[in-house]
Amino acid sequence: MGTFVQLVIDGLSAGSIYAALALAIVLVNQATGLINFAQGGMAVLSAYIAYAFLGWGLPLILAIVAAVVVSFAMGAVIERFLIRRFEGGDPDTAIVVTVGLLTLITGIAGWIWTYNNLQFPSLFPVASIDVLGAVVSVRSLGTTVVIIAIMVLLQLVFLRTKLGLALRAVADNPQSASFSGLPVGWLLMVGWGMAAALGAVAGALVAPQLTLTPGMMDTALVYALAAIILGGMSSPLGVVIAAWLIGVLENLAAVYVPAIGHDLKIAVPFILIFVVLIVRPQGLFGRKVVVRV
C-alpha cells in the first residue's frame, strides 16, 4: 500500500509537469490553431535563463520569476516576428516552422550552455514526509501544488477578467473579434507570452529532477502531446486530468507490469491513446468538430 500511494503521488507530480506544458500548447492552439512543437524547447531555454540569473547571484525564487518575465517577452517576440507570417496559412507549414524553431532553440541552448548536464537547484527541500505509510518527497507534493495553483489562476484570468474574455473571443473567432475592435495582434502576442511563461514554470520545476540539458523536455513534450490527444484539444481541464492519468498510470505500469518496466513506460500513454481513439476519436473530453463545405 505504501509503495502504491508513493507511486500515485510521484505520478501526479510528473503528470503536473506534462500538464503545464500541455496547457501551454492548448493555449497557443486555441488562439492560433497551430501546435507549437517548440513549446518544450522554449521551456528548456527558460530554465537556462533562470540558471543564468542564478549565476548572477539572484535567489532561486527571484531567478525563476525573472525567467518567467523574460520568457513572456520571448514568446511575444517569437509570435510577432516569426509565427505571425505563417498564421492563417497552410497549417503544415506552420507546424514545420515550430519544428525548425525547436531545432534552433535547442541549438542555441547547447551552444551557449553546452550539452553537458547542469545542476539546477530545487524550489523545495530534499525531504520526505509520511503519507498513509508512504515516503513521499516534498518536491513531488510541491510540484503538484504549484501546478494546481497556476491552473486555478489561469482559470480565474480566463473567466473573470477583461483580458481573459478578449483572449477567448480571439480564440473563438479572430475575425469578428477584430470587427468588434479588439487588438487581435496584441492579444495573440499575449497568448504566446502566457504560454511561454507557463512553459518557464514547467522548465524550472522539471530541471532539478532531470538536470538541465538542451533535450530535457523532449520526452515531456511527447507526454504533453499525448495528454492533449487524450483530453481533447478544446478542454483545458480534460488535458490536465489526462496528464495526471498518464503520469499515474505509467508509474504504476513501470513497477507492476514487468514487460513495460522503467525504460518502456513512455509507451504507456500511446497504448492508452490507441484504446481511447478506437472508442472516442474526439478525445475523452473533447467536442466533435463539424465541418461544412
Binding site: 501546435i35 497552410d90 514545420v96 525548425g100 531545432t103 551552444w111 502531446l225 499525448a226 490527444i229 518502456l264
Partner: protein, 356 residues
C-alpha cells in the same frame, strides 16, 4: 535564356538528358574516390526516406515526425534476416512489409483524429523506438547495435564494395523513385491532392480522406522500410541511435528544404540530409543545430516551395526585371514539375498559371 528553357521542355531533349544522367550515374562509381561513392550512396538511401515522407506530408498534407522510425525498423529487420542467413530477397520483402504493417496499424488509429493528431502520435515513434530497440536486445543487439555484412561485391563483378553498394542503392532507389512518380501522377496522386486541399470536398466526391490518409501513410512507411534496407546495405550497421528523434527532425527539414510535394525535391532533400551536416560540422561543430534550424526557417521564409522551386523563383524575378512581353516562354507549355495538381499553399502553383 528562354530558348534554352523551351528546348528543355521538348520530350527529345528531356529523354536525352535522362539517358545522359543515367549514363553518368552508371559510370560515376567507377571513377569517383571511395569517399564520394559512399556519400552519394547515402544520399540515395536518405532520398528514399525523404521520398516516403513526401508522399505522406508533401502530397497528402499529413505531418509525420516519425519517418526515421520506419527506416530504423527496416534496417533492423534486414540486419536480423541477414545475420540469420535468410534469402536476401525474402529479407528485402520483409524489411518493406513489416514497417508497412506497423505504419498501417498506427495510421488506422491516428488518422481518425485528423492531421494534427497524426503529427502528435508520430512524434512518439522515434522516442518510443529507441528504448524499444534497446529492450528487444535478442533481435537488435541492444545498445551495441547489430552489424550485418551482406553488401560486399561478389567476386565475378571485379568491383570494390563501395562501387557495388552504389549500384544496389542506384537500382533499388531508382525503382522506388519511378514507382513514386507513377503513383503521384496517377489517380491515386490526384485523390491525395484533393484530400490535402479540402477534406470536406474530398468526402463529398466520394474520396474517403481517412482511407487515403491510411493508405498514404502505409506506403510512406514502406518507403521508409526500403530506405532502411538500403541503409543497412550502405552502412552495414544499425543501432538504436539510427532512429533517434533528432534524425527524424532532420529528415523533415530535408524534405521541406528540398521541396514538399516534389519528386526531385526528395533527391535534393537526401543530398541536404547527407552533405549539410558534414559542412556545418566542419565550420563549427557546436553551432551545427543552430545553423540547421536557421537554414530551415530561412528557407520557409524566402523559398516556401523548397530548393526545387529556386529556378522558377529566379526566372520570375528575371522576367519582372526585364519587363513584360519579352519572354519567349509565354507560348510554351508550363514547366512540368512533378508536383500534384492543385496543391494549395504552394506558391509554385499560382506562378505556373501566371506563366501560361
Amino acid at each position: 535564356m528562354s530558348t534554352s528553357l523551351s528546348l528543355l521542355r521538348s520530350p527529345w531533349v528531356r529523354g536525352g538528358l535522362l539517358v545522359l544522367v543515367a549514363a553518368l550515374l552508371l559510370v560515376a562509381p567507377l571513377v569517383l574516390p571511395v569517399f564520394w561513392n559512399q556519400s552519394l550512396t547515402r544520399v540515395g538511401v536518405f532520398a528514399v526516406a525523404v521520398l516516403g515522407l513526401n508522399l505522406i506530408m508533401g502530397y497528402t498534407g499529413v505531418v509525420s515526425l516519425g519517418q526515421i522510425f520506419f527506416l530504423g525498423v527496416g534496417a533492423y529487420v534486414a540486419a536480423y534476416g541477414v545475420t540469420n542467413d535468410w534469402n536476401i530477397v525474402l529479407v528485402f520483402v520483409l524489411s518493406v512489409l513489416i514497417p508497412g504493417a506497423l505504419g498501417l496499424l498506427i495510421a488506422l488509429a491516428a488518422a481518425r483524429l485528423g492531421g494534427l493528431a497524426i503529427a502528435m502520435v508520430t512524434i512518439a515513434l522515434p522516442i518510443v523506438g529507441v528504448p524499444l530497440a534497446k529492450r528487444l536486445s535478442e533481435f537488435t543487439g541492444g545498445s551495441q547495435g547489430i552489424s550485418a555484412r551482406f553488401s560486399g561485391a561478389p567476386e565475378w563483378t571485379g568491383l570494390d564494395n563501395d562501387q557495388w553498394q552504389f549500384y544496389i542503392v542506384l537500382v533499388i532507389g531508382g525503382a522506388a523513385f519511378v514507382l513514386a512518380r507513377n503513383l503521384v501522377r496517377g489517380k491515386f496522386g490526384r485523390a491525395l491532392a484533393i484530400v490535402r486541399d479540402n477534406e470536406a470536398v474530398a468526402s463529398s466526391m466520394g474520396i474517403s480522406p481517412y482511407r487515403y490518409k491510411v493508405m498514404a501513410f502505409t506506403i510512406a512507411s514502406m518507403f521508409g522500410g526500403v530506405s532502411g534496407f538500403l541503409y543497412l546495405a550502405a552502412v552495414q550497421y544499425t543501432s538504436p541511435e539510427t532512429m533517434a528523434f533528432h534524425h527524424s527532425i532532420e529528415l523533415l527539414a530535408a524534405m521541406v528544404i528540398g521541396g514538399a510535394g516534389s519528386i526531385i525535391g526528395s533527391l535534393i532533400g537526401g543530398a541536404y540530409y547527407v552533405f549539410v551536416p558534414q559542412i556545418t560540422n566542419a565550420i563549427a561543430a557546436d553551432l551545427t543545430a543552430v545553423i540547421q534550424g536557421a537554414i530551415l526557417l530561412i528557407v520557409l521564409f524566402v523559398l516556401p516551395g523548397g530548393l526545387v522551386s529556386l529556378p522558377r523563383t529566379i526566372r520570375r524575378l528575371l522576367r519582372r526585371n526585364s519587363g513584360s512581353g519579352s519572354s519567349g516562354a509565354d507560348h510554351t507549355p508550363p514547366p512540368r514539375e512533378p508536383a500534384p495538381a492543385g496543391t494549395s499553399g504552394q506558391p509554385g502553383n499560382t506562378e505556373r498559371h501566371g506563366n501560361t
